[in-house]
């Protein structure tokens, strides 16, 4: 089971090699590291499929002293999503950053940072103690801010600093929680903590601080202020990675903190206030993010606000699983949430990459300039449409499967009041997707906009991502089957024991 370490080590080594390598070799080396990571990730998913979870202690040191990596169904799925999006974005980046000397210089800075980010994300999915989670989350944050300011424009610098300050504050609140919990229990490991945590003042404070810090980093509604400018001012491949993957790493950690470490606190108060509050904030995020998206007139900002809205759905899992009469339906809630996370990751990466192609072709991402684009750039428009269909949640896309499962989970938990959120959120999503598509079909008046040529690879990658997203909807059974491959995932009692 020692190949677990390679999924973290390979991107880090690749990052250092890309930093030192000659500018012409960077793309080949970066792609080699990406493909290697993809192969290892797929191998790990297969391992989880066959053997459930695995645990590796690095260097043979036992847990209080050493660092352990913990692989289970949830981390395997996150590894897979990161690897698939990562390799496709890498292919896109190869041709995106090859177009002018200026972009080529940017590309040689892109690869070291992106591989560093990838290694950090994989580390977050695999780490098994609260402190290393902090360190790896910080590595990913620093790399993500570095990628945000890649273009060096004033707007991106300001957005990057705002992102960095918000993320640093979130990390410090999380670290303060770690300090309190260590002072109280003398433990850092997820599993050891989950046994030792009792509802006392310092544990409750630590729980609150850690959740608060992670909510800032995963941009849930009142803390989303840093996301739209950062995600919209970065170069297209970077925006795709930030929206599809980076915010979800903090959400992954939140799931672990909530359902593993503090299972006895968060699960001990059925239908309790904290989980209802997260559900309400998530619902507000769905409405506010989608409403803001409808109002935008720039394509990249629209897609960035759509991320704020779509992230809101993820937080419905907290009130659903807190319901007392919900025994036996956990798989439905987990399946819906993870499926939504996957479909949003693929669809959003596709949308941002397609937006990058449009920006390149038109020289602007103003929606009103997109006249007659559907006829002249059919492949890109088709990708926008297919990815949009999945975001809206129309069958047969993955987005439909996700929303259908979430809707059934909500009804099974007896909390019908979340159902209108899911349905109305889909309607608002349809409003902004159709707003994009409507502009592409408007015939041009007078002289048509002169379009720059876009390399073929750049138009095909968003299409591939969008089609993957739809195919996942056809193959829903297999993906859902991987989740229960983790025995009793999320029920706390049996799913997280040491192997």
């Amino acid at each position: 089971m020692n190949q677990v370490i390679w999924v973290v080590l390979l991107p880090f080594v690749g990052s250092v090699v890309c930093l030192l390598a000659h500018r012409k070799a960077v793309f080949a080396l970066g792609m080699a590291a990406s493909l290697g990571t993809l192969i290892v990730s797929v191998g790990l998913v297969a391992h989880v499929w066959e053997h459930a979870s695995a645990r590796v202690e690095l260097g043979g040191w036992a847990t209080p002293l050493g660092i352990a990596l913990h692989l289970d169904g949830l981390s395997a799925l996150f590894l897979l999503l990161t690897a698939v999006v990562g390799v496709l974005v890498g292919i896109q980046a190869g041709s995106y950053f090859a177009q002018s000397p200026e972009l080529r210089a940017m590309g040689s800075r892109f690869w070291p940072l992106w591989l560093l980010l990838w290694g950090g994300l994989n580390g977050v999915y695999l780490c098994s103690d609260v402190f290393n989670a902090y360190v790896l989350l910080e590595i990913s944050t620093l790399a993500a801010v570095g990628l945000t300011i890649l273009s060096g424009s004033t707007a991106s610098l300001v957005a990057g600093l705002r992102y960095l300050l918000a993320a640093m504050f979130g990390s410090f609140m999380y670290l303060l929680g770690v300090a309190l919990i260590y002072a109280g229990t003398g433990q850092l490991d997820f599993l050891l903590l989950s046994r030792g945590v009792t509802p006392q003042v310092h544990t409750l404070t630590a729980f609150g601080l850690m959740v608060f810090g992670l909510l800032i980093k995963s941009a849930l509604l009142p803390f989303h202020f840093w996301l739209p400018p950062a995600h919209s001012s970065a170069p297209a491949p970077v925006s795709a990675v930030l929206s599809a993957l980076v915010v979800k790493a903090s959400f992954f950690l939140l799931l672990k903190i909530w359902f593993v470490v503090f299972e006895s606190i968060s699960g001990g108060t059925p239908g309790g206030m904290p989980s209802q509050l997260l559900g309400i904030l998530g619902s507000l995020a769905v409405f506010w993010g989608s409403f803001q998206a409808v109002r935008q007139s720039r394509l990249k900002l629209l897609i960035a606000y759509s991320t704020v809205g779509q992230l809101g759905y993820l937080f419905l899992i907290f009130p659903i699983l807190a319901s007392p009469d919900f025994q036996g339906h956990e798989a439905l809630a987990w399946g819906g949430t993870i499926f939504h996370l996957f479909s949003h990751g693929l669809a959003k990466a596709s949308l941002f990459l397609a937006a990058g192609c449009l920006l390149q072709a038109m020289g602007t991402d103003d929606l009103h300039a997109m006249r007659d684009i559907a006829g002249r750039l059919p492949v890109i428009t088709f990708s926008l449409g297919v990815a949009g269909v999945s975001l809206m949640g129309l069958p047969p896309s993955a987005g439909f499967v996700a929303k259908w499962m979430l809707l059934r989970a909500v009804l099974a938990s007896g909390q019908w009041w979340w159902a209108p959120v899911i349905v109305l959120g889909g309607l608002l999503t349809a409003a902004y997707v159709f707003k994009i598509l409507a502009h592409t079909f408007v015939p041009s008046e007078g002289e048509a906009l002169r379009l720059n040529s876009v390399p073929l690879v750049m138009t095909l990658v968003p299409l591939a991502l969008a089609i993957l997203c739809v195919l996942m909807g056809f193959r829903a059974d297999e993906v859902i089957a991987l989740l229960p491959a983790v025995p009793h995932f999320g029920t706390g009692k049996n799913g997280w024991e040491m192997p």
Binding site: T141, V158, L161, M168, A179, Y182, A183
Partner: protein, 106 residues
């Protein structure tokens, strides 16, 4: 009042000061400093934990955590300062007041 409670109260006070500074100060440099005050408070709390948990000799785990934490905080601070400097330069070029926070600009 035990030594541990004095240190931990001082730590909480530092974190509180830092949070207050982060939200009330407009100048970007002061915001970065406020974050460092928060970090200082957290590190003080961790170090005082090392003293409390063991009677005979200090617990090495929090000390290792503080060392790692300082490295992370230094890198993030260095990065933030470099960003603040380039933003100030841009603002000076475009002749806006560089001392003011640029939060509400796109």
């Amino acid at each position: 009042m035990s030594t541990f409670s004095i240190y931990s109260l001082a730590a909480i006070l530092l974190v509180g000061l830092g949070v207050y500074g982060l939200f009330t100060r407009q100048h970007l440099l002061r915001k970065v400093m406020a974050l460092n005050v928060i970090a200082g408070g957290i590190f003080l709390l961790l170090i005082s934990t090392a003293y409390r948990n063991q009677d005979l000799f200090p617990d090495p785990v929090p000390q290792a955590m503080v060392l790692t934490g300082i490295v992370v905080a230094i890198s993030a601070t260095g990065f933030a300062l470099a960003l603040v400097r380039s933003i100030h330069r841009r603002m000076a070029e475009s002749e806006t007041d560089p001392s003011q926070d640029s939060w509400d600009q796109p």
